[in-house]
Protein backbone atom coordinates (compact mmCIF):
# COMPACT_ATOMS: atom_id res chain seq x y z
CA UNK A 1 0.00 0.00 0.00
CA UNK A 2 2.77 2.35 0.99
CA UNK A 3 4.59 1.55 -2.20
CA UNK A 4 1.54 2.51 -4.27
CA UNK A 5 1.43 5.91 -2.57
CA UNK A 6 5.13 6.43 -3.33
CA UNK A 7 4.59 5.40 -6.92
CA UNK A 8 1.67 7.88 -7.18
CA UNK A 9 3.76 10.64 -5.61
CA UNK A 10 6.60 9.81 -7.95
CA UNK A 11 4.32 10.08 -11.00
CA UNK A 12 2.81 13.34 -9.76
CA UNK A 13 6.28 14.81 -9.21
CA UNK A 14 7.41 13.48 -12.60
CA UNK A 15 4.35 14.98 -14.32
CA UNK A 16 4.80 18.36 -12.61
CA UNK A 17 8.49 18.43 -13.48
CA UNK A 18 7.73 17.70 -17.15
CA UNK A 19 5.10 20.47 -17.11
CA UNK A 20 7.52 22.92 -15.50
CA UNK A 21 10.31 22.05 -17.90
CA UNK A 22 7.93 22.73 -20.79
CA UNK A 23 7.03 26.11 -19.37
CA UNK A 24 10.69 26.87 -18.76
CA UNK A 25 11.55 25.80 -22.27
CA UNK A 26 8.87 27.99 -23.84
CA UNK A 27 9.87 30.88 -21.60
CA UNK A 28 13.41 30.40 -22.80
CA UNK A 29 12.19 30.32 -26.37
CA UNK A 30 10.28 33.61 -25.91
CA UNK A 31 13.26 35.16 -24.23
CA UNK A 32 15.29 34.16 -27.26
CA UNK A 33 13.14 36.37 -29.56
CA UNK A 34 14.46 39.89 -29.55
CA UNK A 35 11.48 42.27 -29.68
CA UNK A 36 11.50 45.40 -31.77
CA UNK A 37 10.78 48.67 -30.10
CA UNK A 38 10.06 52.20 -31.19
CA UNK A 39 13.56 53.49 -30.68
CA UNK A 40 15.59 50.82 -32.47
CA UNK A 41 18.28 52.05 -34.80
CA UNK A 42 18.62 50.49 -38.22
CA UNK A 43 21.61 48.50 -37.03
CA UNK A 44 19.70 47.20 -34.03
CA UNK A 45 16.74 46.28 -36.21
CA UNK A 46 18.96 44.43 -38.67
CA UNK A 47 20.67 42.61 -35.86
CA UNK A 48 17.28 41.56 -34.42
CA UNK A 49 16.01 40.47 -37.85
CA UNK A 50 19.09 38.31 -38.24
CA UNK A 51 18.82 36.98 -34.71
CA UNK A 52 15.09 36.17 -35.03
CA UNK A 53 15.45 34.71 -38.51
CA UNK A 54 12.93 37.13 -40.06
CA UNK A 55 12.80 37.61 -43.81
CA UNK A 56 12.53 41.32 -44.39
CA UNK A 57 14.79 44.27 -45.09
CA UNK A 58 14.84 47.73 -43.62
CA UNK A 59 16.21 51.04 -44.72
CA UNK A 60 15.90 54.73 -44.13
CA UNK A 61 12.67 56.38 -45.25
CA UNK A 62 10.72 59.47 -44.28
CA UNK A 63 8.71 57.71 -41.58
CA UNK A 64 11.66 55.99 -39.96
CA UNK A 65 13.63 59.23 -40.08
CA UNK A 66 10.98 61.20 -38.20
CA UNK A 67 11.96 62.53 -34.81
CA UNK A 68 10.48 60.96 -31.70
CA UNK A 69 8.18 63.96 -31.28
CA UNK A 70 7.01 63.77 -34.88
CA UNK A 71 6.25 60.07 -34.51
CA UNK A 72 4.23 60.79 -31.42
CA UNK A 73 1.97 63.05 -33.49
CA UNK A 74 2.00 60.65 -36.42
CA UNK A 75 0.99 57.38 -34.78
CA UNK A 76 -2.21 58.58 -33.26
CA UNK A 77 -4.49 55.57 -33.01
CA UNK A 78 -5.48 55.32 -29.38
CA UNK A 79 -7.60 53.58 -26.79
CA UNK A 80 -11.14 54.94 -26.50
CA UNK A 81 -12.27 56.81 -23.44
CA UNK A 82 -14.86 54.11 -22.82
CA UNK A 83 -14.76 50.61 -24.26
CA UNK A 84 -17.67 49.49 -26.39
CA UNK A 85 -17.99 45.77 -25.90
CA UNK A 86 -21.20 45.43 -27.88
CA UNK A 87 -19.34 44.02 -30.84
CA UNK A 88 -18.52 40.92 -28.87
CA UNK A 89 -22.18 39.91 -28.99
CA UNK A 90 -22.80 41.28 -32.49
CA UNK A 91 -20.59 38.65 -34.04
CA UNK A 92 -19.13 38.91 -37.49
CA UNK A 93 -22.29 39.93 -39.38
CA UNK A 94 -23.02 38.39 -42.77
CA UNK A 95 -19.43 37.18 -43.00
CA UNK A 96 -20.21 34.30 -40.65
CA UNK A 97 -22.44 32.78 -43.34
CA UNK A 98 -19.71 33.06 -45.95
CA UNK A 99 -16.96 31.32 -44.05
CA UNK A 100 -16.35 27.86 -45.40
CA UNK A 101 -18.56 28.43 -48.44
CA UNK A 102 -15.74 29.53 -50.68
CA UNK A 103 -12.52 27.77 -51.41
CA UNK A 104 -9.86 30.20 -50.35
CA UNK A 105 -7.01 30.31 -52.85
CA UNK A 106 -3.42 30.19 -51.68
CA UNK A 107 -2.95 33.70 -53.03
CA UNK A 108 -5.40 36.51 -53.42
CA UNK A 109 -4.75 40.14 -54.23
CA UNK A 110 -7.27 42.86 -55.12
CA UNK A 111 -4.46 44.67 -56.93
CA UNK A 112 -4.43 41.88 -59.47
CA UNK A 113 -7.71 40.05 -59.61
CA UNK A 114 -8.47 38.53 -63.02
CA UNK A 115 -5.94 40.93 -64.47
CA UNK A 116 -7.50 44.03 -62.95
CA UNK A 117 -6.84 46.20 -59.94
CA UNK A 118 -9.82 46.98 -57.69
CA UNK A 119 -7.96 49.51 -55.60
CA UNK A 120 -6.46 52.82 -56.70
CA UNK A 121 -3.01 54.27 -56.43
CA UNK A 122 -1.22 54.25 -53.10
CA UNK A 123 -1.68 57.45 -51.11
CA UNK A 124 0.44 59.44 -48.70
CA UNK A 125 -0.92 60.87 -45.46
CA UNK A 126 2.08 63.18 -45.11
CA UNK A 127 2.96 64.33 -41.62
CA UNK A 128 -0.64 64.22 -40.45
CA UNK A 129 -2.03 61.65 -38.02
CA UNK A 130 -4.78 60.69 -40.43
CA UNK A 131 -4.04 57.01 -41.01
CA UNK A 132 -7.57 56.12 -39.87
CA UNK A 133 -9.07 58.11 -42.75
CA UNK A 134 -6.81 56.39 -45.27
CA UNK A 135 -7.61 52.95 -43.86
CA UNK A 136 -11.33 53.71 -43.96
CA UNK A 137 -11.23 55.33 -47.41
CA UNK A 138 -9.19 52.46 -48.89
CA UNK A 139 -11.69 49.99 -47.44
CA UNK A 140 -14.63 51.99 -48.79
CA UNK A 141 -12.99 52.25 -52.19
CA UNK A 142 -12.19 48.56 -52.36
CA UNK A 143 -15.69 47.52 -51.29
CA UNK A 144 -17.31 50.00 -53.64
CA UNK A 145 -15.16 48.96 -56.60
CA UNK A 146 -15.92 45.29 -56.05
CA UNK A 147 -19.66 45.89 -55.57
CA UNK A 148 -19.99 48.06 -58.68
CA UNK A 149 -17.47 46.25 -60.88
CA UNK A 150 -15.06 49.14 -61.23
CA UNK A 151 -11.40 48.50 -61.76
CA UNK A 152 -8.11 49.90 -63.05
CA UNK A 153 -8.42 53.56 -64.05
CA UNK A 154 -12.14 53.51 -63.20
CA UNK A 155 -11.50 52.79 -59.53
CA UNK A 156 -13.29 55.25 -57.28
CA UNK A 157 -11.21 57.65 -55.20
CA UNK A 158 -12.93 58.72 -51.98
CA UNK A 159 -12.05 61.78 -49.94
CA UNK A 160 -9.96 61.20 -46.83
CA UNK A 161 -10.44 64.89 -46.09
CA UNK A 162 -14.18 64.42 -45.88
CA UNK A 163 -13.66 61.85 -43.11
CA UNK A 164 -11.12 64.01 -41.31
CA UNK A 165 -12.59 67.48 -41.62
CA UNK A 166 -16.32 66.92 -42.18
CA UNK A 167 -17.33 63.68 -40.46
CA UNK A 168 -14.74 64.28 -37.75
CA UNK A 169 -16.32 67.63 -36.92
CA UNK A 170 -19.71 66.09 -36.19
CA UNK A 171 -20.27 66.06 -32.41
CA UNK A 172 -21.18 62.38 -32.42
CA UNK A 173 -17.76 61.43 -33.80
CA UNK A 174 -15.52 64.27 -32.68
CA UNK A 175 -14.27 62.38 -29.63
CA UNK A 176 -13.53 59.32 -31.74
CA UNK A 177 -11.64 60.87 -34.63
CA UNK A 178 -10.81 64.24 -36.07
CA UNK A 179 -8.38 65.74 -38.57
CA UNK A 180 -4.73 64.97 -37.86
CA UNK A 181 -5.46 64.05 -34.24
CA UNK A 182 -6.04 60.41 -35.12
CA UNK A 183 -8.79 58.02 -34.10
CA UNK A 184 -9.57 55.62 -31.32
CA UNK A 185 -10.12 51.88 -31.59
CA UNK A 186 -13.89 52.19 -32.17
CA UNK A 187 -13.84 52.57 -35.97
CA UNK A 188 -16.37 55.38 -35.61
CA UNK A 189 -15.15 56.53 -39.02
CA UNK A 190 -16.79 53.42 -40.49
CA UNK A 191 -20.00 54.16 -38.61
CA UNK A 192 -19.88 57.63 -40.15
CA UNK A 193 -19.47 56.16 -43.64
CA UNK A 194 -22.59 54.11 -43.02
CA UNK A 195 -24.64 56.98 -41.61
CA UNK A 196 -23.40 59.92 -43.68
CA UNK A 197 -21.43 58.42 -46.56
CA UNK A 198 -18.37 59.84 -48.24
CA UNK A 199 -17.71 62.24 -51.10
CA UNK A 200 -15.16 61.76 -53.82
CA UNK A 201 -11.59 63.01 -53.74
CA UNK A 202 -12.43 65.27 -56.67
CA UNK A 203 -14.96 67.10 -54.54
CA UNK A 204 -12.72 67.41 -51.50
CA UNK A 205 -9.01 66.77 -52.15
CA UNK A 206 -6.72 65.74 -49.31
CA UNK A 207 -5.76 68.57 -46.97
CA UNK A 208 -3.49 68.26 -43.95
CA UNK A 209 -4.69 71.56 -42.53
CA UNK A 210 -8.21 72.20 -41.31
CA UNK A 211 -9.99 73.98 -44.17
CA UNK A 212 -12.58 75.36 -41.74
CA UNK A 213 -16.30 74.91 -41.95
CA UNK A 214 -17.29 71.89 -43.99
CA UNK A 215 -19.33 72.70 -47.06
CA UNK A 216 -19.16 69.25 -48.62
CA UNK A 217 -22.29 67.68 -47.17
CA UNK A 218 -24.19 69.18 -50.11
CA UNK A 219 -22.14 67.12 -52.53
CA UNK A 220 -23.15 63.62 -53.58
CA UNK A 221 -22.02 60.93 -51.15
CA UNK A 222 -21.74 57.18 -51.25
CA UNK A 223 -23.26 55.46 -48.24
CA UNK A 224 -22.58 51.97 -47.00
CA UNK A 225 -25.01 49.54 -45.49
CA UNK A 226 -23.06 48.39 -42.45
CA UNK A 227 -19.68 47.52 -40.99
CA UNK A 228 -18.63 44.61 -38.79
CA UNK A 229 -15.65 43.30 -36.91
CA UNK A 230 -13.95 40.05 -37.83
CA UNK A 231 -13.12 37.59 -35.08
CA UNK A 232 -9.63 38.22 -33.68
CA UNK A 233 -6.85 36.14 -35.22
CA UNK A 234 -9.34 34.17 -37.33
CA UNK A 235 -7.23 34.09 -40.46
CA UNK A 236 -9.80 32.18 -42.48
CA UNK A 237 -12.49 34.71 -41.58
CA UNK A 238 -10.24 37.63 -42.51
CA UNK A 239 -9.42 36.05 -45.85
CA UNK A 240 -13.10 35.35 -46.49
CA UNK A 241 -13.96 38.97 -45.69
CA UNK A 242 -11.32 40.22 -48.12
CA UNK A 243 -12.45 37.91 -50.86
CA UNK A 244 -16.18 38.46 -50.31
CA UNK A 245 -16.43 42.18 -49.65
CA UNK A 246 -13.16 43.72 -50.81
CA UNK A 247 -10.42 45.55 -48.97
CA UNK A 248 -10.72 45.39 -45.15
CA UNK A 249 -9.79 47.95 -42.52
CA UNK A 250 -7.31 46.92 -39.82
CA UNK A 251 -4.73 48.24 -37.39
CA UNK A 252 -1.19 47.42 -36.33
CA UNK A 253 1.13 48.20 -33.47
CA UNK A 254 4.08 49.78 -35.19
CA UNK A 255 7.72 49.47 -34.32
CA UNK A 256 10.72 51.20 -35.77
CA UNK A 257 11.26 48.01 -37.78
CA UNK A 258 7.86 48.44 -39.42
CA UNK A 259 8.58 52.10 -40.13
CA UNK A 260 11.90 51.16 -41.76
CA UNK A 261 10.45 48.19 -43.70
CA UNK A 262 11.59 48.17 -47.30
CA UNK A 263 10.82 44.66 -48.59
CA UNK A 264 10.19 41.06 -47.62
CA UNK A 265 7.73 39.54 -45.16
CA UNK A 266 7.46 41.56 -41.99
CA UNK A 267 7.31 39.69 -38.72
CA UNK A 268 7.55 40.54 -35.04
CA UNK A 269 6.66 39.19 -31.63
CA UNK A 270 3.30 40.98 -31.25
CA UNK A 271 1.20 38.01 -32.25
CA UNK A 272 -1.50 37.78 -29.64
CA UNK A 273 -4.74 39.65 -29.10
CA UNK A 274 -4.78 39.40 -25.36
CA UNK A 275 -6.81 42.47 -24.45
CA UNK A 276 -10.41 42.12 -23.38
CA UNK A 277 -12.23 42.34 -25.72
CA UNK A 278 -9.51 41.14 -28.04
CA UNK A 279 -10.09 43.88 -30.62
CA UNK A 280 -8.82 46.41 -28.09
CA UNK A 281 -5.31 45.03 -28.53
CA UNK A 282 -2.91 47.94 -28.59
CA UNK A 283 -2.47 49.34 -32.11
CA UNK A 284 -1.26 52.78 -33.09
CA UNK A 285 -1.69 52.79 -36.85
CA UNK A 286 -4.63 52.07 -39.18
CA UNK A 287 -4.04 50.28 -42.45
CA UNK A 288 -5.97 48.19 -44.95
CA UNK A 289 -5.54 44.61 -46.10
CA UNK A 290 -5.95 43.86 -49.80
CA UNK A 291 -5.00 40.19 -50.03
CA UNK A 292 -2.86 37.37 -48.76
CA UNK A 293 -0.23 34.87 -49.77
CA UNK A 294 -0.11 31.50 -48.02
CA UNK A 295 3.42 30.85 -49.33
CA UNK A 296 4.60 33.75 -47.19
CA UNK A 297 1.91 33.13 -44.53
CA UNK A 298 1.25 36.82 -44.93
CA UNK A 299 -1.42 39.43 -45.59
CA UNK A 300 -0.82 42.16 -48.14
CA UNK A 301 -1.00 45.38 -46.18
CA UNK A 302 -1.82 48.66 -47.89
CA UNK A 303 -0.19 51.56 -46.09
CA UNK A 304 -0.67 55.31 -46.50
CA UNK A 305 2.97 56.33 -46.48
CA UNK A 306 3.41 56.84 -50.20
CA UNK A 307 4.66 54.55 -52.93
CA UNK A 308 8.31 54.85 -51.91
CA UNK A 309 7.71 53.11 -48.60
CA UNK A 310 7.93 49.32 -48.47
CA UNK A 311 7.06 47.38 -51.59
CA UNK A 312 5.57 50.24 -53.63
CA UNK A 313 3.59 51.38 -50.62
CA UNK A 314 2.55 47.86 -49.58
CA UNK A 315 3.91 45.37 -47.05
CA UNK A 316 3.70 41.63 -46.74
CA UNK A 317 3.06 40.99 -43.09
CA UNK A 318 2.86 37.64 -41.30
CA UNK A 319 -0.74 36.70 -40.53
CA UNK A 320 -0.56 37.63 -36.88
CA UNK A 321 2.41 39.99 -36.69
CA UNK A 322 2.01 43.48 -35.22
CA UNK A 323 -1.46 42.51 -34.01
CA UNK A 324 -2.71 42.90 -37.59
CA UNK A 325 -5.35 40.21 -37.11
CA UNK A 326 -6.76 41.61 -33.89
CA UNK A 327 -8.94 44.48 -35.08
CA UNK A 328 -9.99 43.70 -38.63
CA UNK A 329 -13.25 45.21 -39.86
CA UNK A 330 -15.16 45.11 -43.12
CA UNK A 331 -17.70 47.32 -44.84
CA UNK A 332 -20.79 46.15 -46.67
CA UNK A 333 -22.48 47.95 -49.55
CA UNK A 334 -26.22 47.81 -50.01
CA UNK A 335 -27.89 46.71 -53.23
CA UNK A 336 -26.05 48.27 -56.13
CA UNK A 337 -27.06 49.80 -59.38
CA UNK A 338 -24.82 49.30 -62.36
CA UNK A 339 -23.99 52.25 -64.58
CA UNK A 340 -21.88 52.03 -67.66
CA UNK A 341 -20.90 55.02 -69.72
CA UNK A 342 -19.75 54.75 -73.29
CA UNK A 343 -18.85 57.50 -75.68
CA UNK A 344 -17.76 58.16 -79.19
CA UNK A 345 -15.91 61.18 -80.47
CA UNK A 346 -17.40 62.64 -83.62
CA UNK A 347 -16.60 65.69 -85.68
CA UNK A 348 -18.36 68.36 -87.60
CA UNK A 349 -16.48 70.15 -90.34
CA UNK A 350 -17.62 73.68 -90.82
CA UNK A 351 -15.72 76.34 -92.76
CA UNK A 352 -12.08 75.88 -91.76
CA UNK A 353 -12.90 74.22 -88.46
CA UNK A 354 -13.04 70.65 -87.29
CA UNK A 355 -15.33 70.74 -84.28
CA UNK A 356 -15.20 67.63 -82.12
CA UNK A 357 -18.12 66.50 -80.04
CA UNK A 358 -18.97 63.53 -77.88
CA UNK A 359 -21.91 61.20 -78.31
CA UNK A 360 -22.44 59.64 -74.89
CA UNK A 361 -24.60 56.72 -73.84
CA UNK A 362 -25.45 55.91 -70.23
CA UNK A 363 -26.48 52.30 -69.74
CA UNK A 364 -28.40 51.64 -66.53
CA UNK A 365 -29.04 48.28 -64.94
CA UNK A 366 -30.97 48.37 -61.70
CA UNK A 367 -32.23 44.83 -61.15
CA UNK A 368 -32.86 45.36 -57.43
CA UNK A 369 -35.10 48.32 -58.23
CA UNK A 370 -33.25 50.88 -56.13
CA UNK A 371 -35.07 54.19 -55.99
CA UNK A 372 -33.08 56.49 -58.23
CA UNK A 373 -33.97 60.15 -58.37
CA UNK A 374 -31.61 61.24 -61.13
CA UNK A 375 -28.47 60.51 -63.06
CA UNK A 376 -25.90 63.27 -63.18
CA UNK A 377 -23.50 63.35 -66.09
CA UNK A 378 -20.32 65.19 -65.09
CA UNK A 379 -17.46 66.44 -67.21
CA UNK A 380 -13.98 67.44 -66.14
CA UNK A 381 -13.54 71.00 -67.28
CA UNK A 382 -10.39 72.70 -68.52
CA UNK A 383 -9.98 74.14 -65.00
CA UNK A 384 -9.72 70.61 -63.65
CA UNK A 385 -13.07 70.57 -61.84
CA UNK A 386 -15.94 68.26 -62.58
CA UNK A 387 -19.09 70.09 -63.63
CA UNK A 388 -22.59 68.77 -64.10
CA UNK A 389 -23.44 68.96 -67.77
CA UNK A 390 -26.66 66.98 -67.90
CA UNK A 391 -29.20 65.61 -65.44
CA UNK A 392 -31.49 62.77 -66.45
CA UNK A 393 -34.49 62.41 -64.17
CA UNK A 394 -35.95 58.96 -63.90
CA UNK A 395 -37.61 57.22 -61.01
CA UNK A 396 -37.71 53.49 -60.51
CA UNK A 397 -35.82 52.63 -63.63
CA UNK A 398 -34.92 48.97 -63.91
CA UNK A 399 -32.87 49.20 -67.06
CA UNK A 400 -32.47 51.66 -69.87
CA UNK A 401 -30.25 54.01 -71.78
CA UNK A 402 -29.80 57.75 -71.80
CA UNK A 403 -28.17 59.66 -74.62
CA UNK A 404 -26.39 62.98 -74.61
CA UNK A 405 -24.34 64.84 -77.17
CA UNK A 406 -21.72 67.11 -75.69
CA UNK A 407 -20.92 69.93 -78.09
CA UNK A 408 -18.08 70.88 -78.39
CA UNK A 409 -14.68 69.77 -77.10
CA UNK A 410 -11.80 72.20 -76.58
CA UNK A 411 -8.78 71.87 -78.78
CA UNK A 412 -5.96 69.78 -77.30
CA UNK A 413 -7.95 69.03 -74.16
CA UNK A 414 -8.96 65.63 -72.88
CA UNK A 415 -12.39 65.48 -71.30
CA UNK A 416 -13.27 62.93 -68.66
CA UNK A 417 -16.91 61.97 -68.26
CA UNK A 418 -18.58 60.12 -65.44
CA UNK A 419 -22.19 59.50 -64.36
CA UNK A 420 -23.57 59.29 -60.83
CA UNK A 421 -26.89 57.73 -59.86
CA UNK A 422 -28.40 59.83 -57.07
CA UNK A 423 -31.19 58.93 -54.67
CA UNK A 424 -33.87 61.22 -53.25
CA UNK A 425 -31.61 62.32 -50.39
CA UNK A 426 -28.76 63.29 -52.68
CA UNK A 427 -26.62 60.25 -51.96
CA UNK A 428 -24.62 58.59 -54.70
CA UNK A 429 -25.95 55.12 -55.29
CA UNK A 430 -23.46 54.28 -57.97
CA UNK A 431 -20.86 55.86 -60.19
CA UNK A 432 -20.15 54.80 -63.73
CA UNK A 433 -16.83 54.07 -65.30
CA UNK A 434 -14.89 57.08 -66.47
CA UNK A 435 -14.33 57.72 -70.16
CA UNK A 436 -11.96 60.15 -71.80
CA UNK A 437 -12.42 61.93 -75.11
CA UNK A 438 -10.12 64.49 -76.64
CA UNK A 439 -10.94 67.62 -78.60
CA UNK A 440 -9.32 68.69 -81.85
CA UNK A 441 -5.58 68.15 -82.00
Amino acid sequence: MKNKVYIKIFFIIFFISILLSGVMFSADANEDIKKFDKEDTLEEIREKILHNGYGFSVDHNWVFDMSKEEKKLFFTRRKPIKKDISYVSKGMGPLQYEIGKKVLPAKFDWRDHNGHSYIGEIRNQGGCGSCYSFGAAATAEGVYNVATGRYDEDCIDFSESFIMWCLGKLPEYNNNFFGCDGADYEYAELSALVKYGITSEIDFPYAEADPGECSHFEQPRVKFKAWYRVECNNIEAIKTAIMTYGVVDAAVLTTNAMAAYSSGVYDDANKTCSEIPCYYEEADHAIALVGWDDDDQAFILRNSWGEYWGENGYMRIKYSAAGVSCAVTYLVMGPSISLSLSGEKKELNYWAFTLKYADLVVNVSNPSGMAVNRFILKRKETNGNYEEIKIFYSENIVSGKYYFTDKYLAKNYEYNYVVDAIDNDGNILSTSNKISLKGAE
Binding site: E347, N349, Y350, W351, A352, T354, T382, K407, Y408, A440
Partner: protein
Amino acid sequence: MRKIYLAMLILFLTTISYAKINVFIDISTSFLKPADTEYAKIYGDKIFYPEIITGIKLFKDIYIFGTYGFINIKGDIIDIGAEVNASSKQSFISFGIGYEFMAKKKISLKISGGIVLINYEERAYLSDILLDNYSGKNTGYKLDMGLFYNFSNNFNISINAGYFNSQNTTDYKKKLSFGGIKAGVGLGIKF
Protein backbone atom coordinates in the same frame (compact mmCIF):
# COMPACT_ATOMS: atom_id res chain seq x y z
CA MET B 1 8.30 86.07 -100.14
CA ARG B 2 10.26 88.88 -98.49
CA LYS B 3 12.55 88.94 -101.51
CA ILE B 4 9.57 89.46 -103.78
CA TYR B 5 8.36 92.35 -101.63
CA LEU B 6 11.83 93.84 -101.61
CA ALA B 7 12.14 93.50 -105.36
CA MET B 8 8.78 95.15 -105.79
CA LEU B 9 9.79 98.01 -103.52
CA ILE B 10 13.07 98.52 -105.35
CA LEU B 11 11.26 98.44 -108.67
CA PHE B 12 8.72 100.91 -107.37
CA LEU B 13 11.28 103.37 -106.01
CA THR B 14 13.51 103.05 -109.04
CA THR B 15 10.63 103.75 -111.33
CA ILE B 16 9.55 106.78 -109.31
CA SER B 17 13.05 108.12 -109.32
CA TYR B 18 13.86 107.76 -112.98
CA ALA B 19 10.69 107.43 -114.99
CA LYS B 20 8.47 110.25 -116.04
CA ILE B 21 6.31 109.71 -113.14
CA ASN B 22 2.75 108.86 -112.79
CA VAL B 23 2.26 107.51 -109.32
CA PHE B 24 -1.14 107.08 -107.76
CA ILE B 25 -2.42 106.04 -104.40
CA ASP B 26 -6.04 105.11 -103.81
CA ILE B 27 -7.79 104.40 -100.57
CA SER B 28 -10.84 102.26 -101.02
CA THR B 29 -13.57 101.17 -98.66
CA SER B 30 -15.28 98.13 -100.02
CA PHE B 31 -17.64 95.43 -99.01
CA LEU B 32 -16.75 91.85 -99.70
CA LYS B 33 -19.22 89.17 -100.56
CA PRO B 34 -17.34 86.02 -99.53
CA ALA B 35 -16.89 83.29 -102.08
CA ASP B 36 -17.32 80.58 -99.44
CA THR B 37 -20.93 80.08 -98.39
CA GLU B 38 -20.04 78.75 -94.92
CA TYR B 39 -17.73 81.70 -94.31
CA ALA B 40 -20.56 84.00 -95.42
CA LYS B 41 -22.98 82.27 -93.02
CA ILE B 42 -20.65 82.97 -90.12
CA TYR B 43 -19.65 86.56 -90.90
CA GLY B 44 -22.35 87.76 -93.27
CA ASP B 45 -22.29 88.47 -96.99
CA LYS B 46 -21.24 92.12 -96.73
CA ILE B 47 -17.93 92.33 -94.95
CA PHE B 48 -16.21 95.66 -94.54
CA TYR B 49 -12.92 95.58 -96.33
CA PRO B 50 -10.53 98.59 -96.50
CA GLU B 51 -7.81 98.57 -99.09
CA ILE B 52 -4.94 100.77 -100.14
CA ILE B 53 -3.81 100.65 -103.75
CA THR B 54 -0.69 102.16 -105.14
CA GLY B 55 0.60 102.05 -108.67
CA ILE B 56 2.95 103.59 -111.14
CA LYS B 57 2.51 104.05 -114.79
CA LEU B 58 5.17 102.33 -116.81
CA PHE B 59 3.98 103.53 -120.19
CA LYS B 60 1.22 105.77 -121.35
CA ASP B 61 -1.70 103.58 -120.26
CA ILE B 62 -0.07 100.64 -118.57
CA TYR B 63 0.70 100.58 -114.86
CA ILE B 64 1.79 98.17 -112.23
CA PHE B 65 0.14 98.14 -108.83
CA GLY B 66 0.39 96.79 -105.32
CA THR B 67 -2.44 96.61 -102.80
CA TYR B 68 -2.97 95.85 -99.14
CA GLY B 69 -6.31 95.11 -97.54
CA PHE B 70 -7.52 93.25 -94.47
CA ILE B 71 -10.49 91.75 -92.69
CA ASN B 72 -10.80 91.48 -88.91
CA ILE B 73 -14.22 90.22 -87.97
CA LYS B 74 -16.12 88.15 -85.45
CA GLY B 75 -19.17 86.00 -86.04
CA ASP B 76 -21.25 83.09 -84.82
CA ILE B 77 -21.48 79.60 -86.20
CA ILE B 78 -25.18 78.89 -86.06
CA ASP B 79 -27.27 75.81 -86.59
CA ILE B 80 -24.68 73.41 -85.24
CA GLY B 81 -26.30 72.83 -81.87
CA ALA B 82 -24.23 75.19 -79.74
CA GLU B 83 -23.32 78.85 -79.56
CA VAL B 84 -19.94 78.70 -81.19
CA ASN B 85 -18.17 81.99 -81.79
CA ALA B 86 -15.65 82.51 -84.54
CA SER B 87 -13.12 85.11 -85.52
CA SER B 88 -11.37 85.72 -88.80
CA LYS B 89 -8.25 87.71 -89.47
CA GLN B 90 -7.21 87.89 -93.09
CA SER B 91 -4.83 90.16 -94.94
CA PHE B 92 -4.48 90.47 -98.68
CA ILE B 93 -1.40 91.64 -100.51
CA SER B 94 -1.57 91.75 -104.26
CA PHE B 95 0.40 93.05 -107.18
CA GLY B 96 -0.08 92.97 -110.89
CA ILE B 97 -0.53 95.02 -114.01
CA GLY B 98 -3.30 97.35 -115.17
CA TYR B 99 -4.56 99.37 -118.06
CA GLU B 100 -6.10 102.80 -117.88
CA PHE B 101 -7.76 104.72 -120.62
CA MET B 102 -9.52 108.02 -120.66
CA ALA B 103 -13.19 107.59 -121.50
CA LYS B 104 -13.87 111.34 -121.36
CA LYS B 105 -11.84 114.37 -120.34
CA LYS B 106 -12.25 113.76 -116.62
CA ILE B 107 -13.38 110.17 -116.58
CA SER B 108 -11.08 107.24 -116.88
CA LEU B 109 -11.47 103.48 -116.57
CA LYS B 110 -8.93 101.15 -115.04
CA ILE B 111 -8.77 97.42 -115.50
CA SER B 112 -6.18 95.36 -113.64
CA GLY B 113 -5.23 91.81 -112.79
CA GLY B 114 -2.58 90.13 -110.69
CA ILE B 115 -1.79 87.69 -107.98
CA VAL B 116 -2.88 87.92 -104.38
CA LEU B 117 -1.31 86.52 -101.25
CA ILE B 118 -3.81 85.81 -98.46
CA ASN B 119 -2.72 85.36 -94.84
CA TYR B 120 -5.43 83.99 -92.59
CA GLU B 121 -6.06 83.00 -89.02
CA GLU B 122 -9.45 81.45 -88.27
CA ARG B 123 -10.59 80.60 -84.74
CA ALA B 124 -13.66 78.92 -83.27
CA TYR B 125 -14.59 79.40 -79.58
CA LEU B 126 -17.15 78.12 -77.14
CA SER B 127 -17.39 80.30 -74.02
CA ASP B 128 -13.88 81.61 -74.66
CA ILE B 129 -12.48 78.08 -74.92
CA LEU B 130 -10.68 77.46 -78.16
CA LEU B 131 -12.31 74.64 -80.11
CA ASP B 132 -10.20 74.83 -83.25
CA ASN B 133 -8.03 77.20 -85.19
CA TYR B 134 -6.76 77.21 -88.69
CA SER B 135 -4.09 79.49 -90.10
CA GLY B 136 -1.79 79.76 -93.07
CA LYS B 137 -1.27 81.58 -96.33
CA ASN B 138 -2.38 81.02 -99.90
CA THR B 139 -1.85 82.61 -103.25
CA GLY B 140 -4.59 83.30 -105.74
CA TYR B 141 -5.62 85.80 -108.36
CA LYS B 142 -7.26 89.19 -108.39
CA LEU B 143 -9.21 91.12 -111.00
CA ASP B 144 -10.32 94.74 -110.56
CA MET B 145 -11.96 97.49 -112.49
CA GLY B 146 -12.69 101.08 -111.52
CA LEU B 147 -14.36 104.12 -112.89
CA PHE B 148 -12.52 107.31 -111.93
CA TYR B 149 -13.66 110.89 -111.91
CA ASN B 150 -10.62 113.15 -111.97
CA PHE B 151 -11.87 116.37 -110.47
CA SER B 152 -8.39 117.88 -110.56
CA ASN B 153 -5.02 116.93 -111.91
CA ASN B 154 -4.09 115.27 -108.64
CA PHE B 155 -7.28 113.99 -107.08
CA ASN B 156 -10.00 111.63 -108.08
CA ILE B 157 -12.84 109.64 -106.72
CA SER B 158 -13.81 106.25 -107.94
CA ILE B 159 -16.21 103.40 -107.79
CA ASN B 160 -14.68 100.03 -108.13
CA ALA B 161 -15.54 96.36 -108.26
CA GLY B 162 -13.49 93.24 -108.44
CA TYR B 163 -13.01 89.64 -107.58
CA PHE B 164 -10.19 87.84 -105.88
CA ASN B 165 -9.93 84.28 -104.87
CA SER B 166 -7.63 81.74 -103.36
CA GLN B 167 -8.41 78.15 -102.50
CA ASN B 168 -7.01 75.69 -100.05
CA THR B 169 -7.81 72.11 -99.11
CA THR B 170 -7.87 71.19 -95.44
CA ASP B 171 -6.52 68.03 -93.86
CA TYR B 172 -9.99 66.57 -93.96
CA LYS B 173 -10.22 67.21 -97.74
CA LYS B 174 -12.50 70.17 -97.55
CA LYS B 175 -11.98 72.91 -100.10
CA LEU B 176 -11.91 76.41 -98.60
CA SER B 177 -12.44 79.45 -100.75
CA PHE B 178 -10.98 82.78 -99.62
CA GLY B 179 -11.86 86.18 -101.05
CA GLY B 180 -14.90 86.89 -103.18
CA ILE B 181 -16.60 89.73 -105.00
CA LYS B 182 -15.87 93.20 -103.74
CA ALA B 183 -17.36 96.57 -104.54
CA GLY B 184 -16.62 99.97 -103.09
CA VAL B 185 -15.71 103.61 -103.44
CA GLY B 186 -12.31 105.21 -103.35
CA LEU B 187 -10.46 108.44 -103.03
CA GLY B 188 -7.25 108.80 -104.96
CA ILE B 189 -4.28 111.01 -105.37
CA LYS B 190 -1.80 111.01 -108.22
CA PHE B 191 1.34 112.94 -108.89
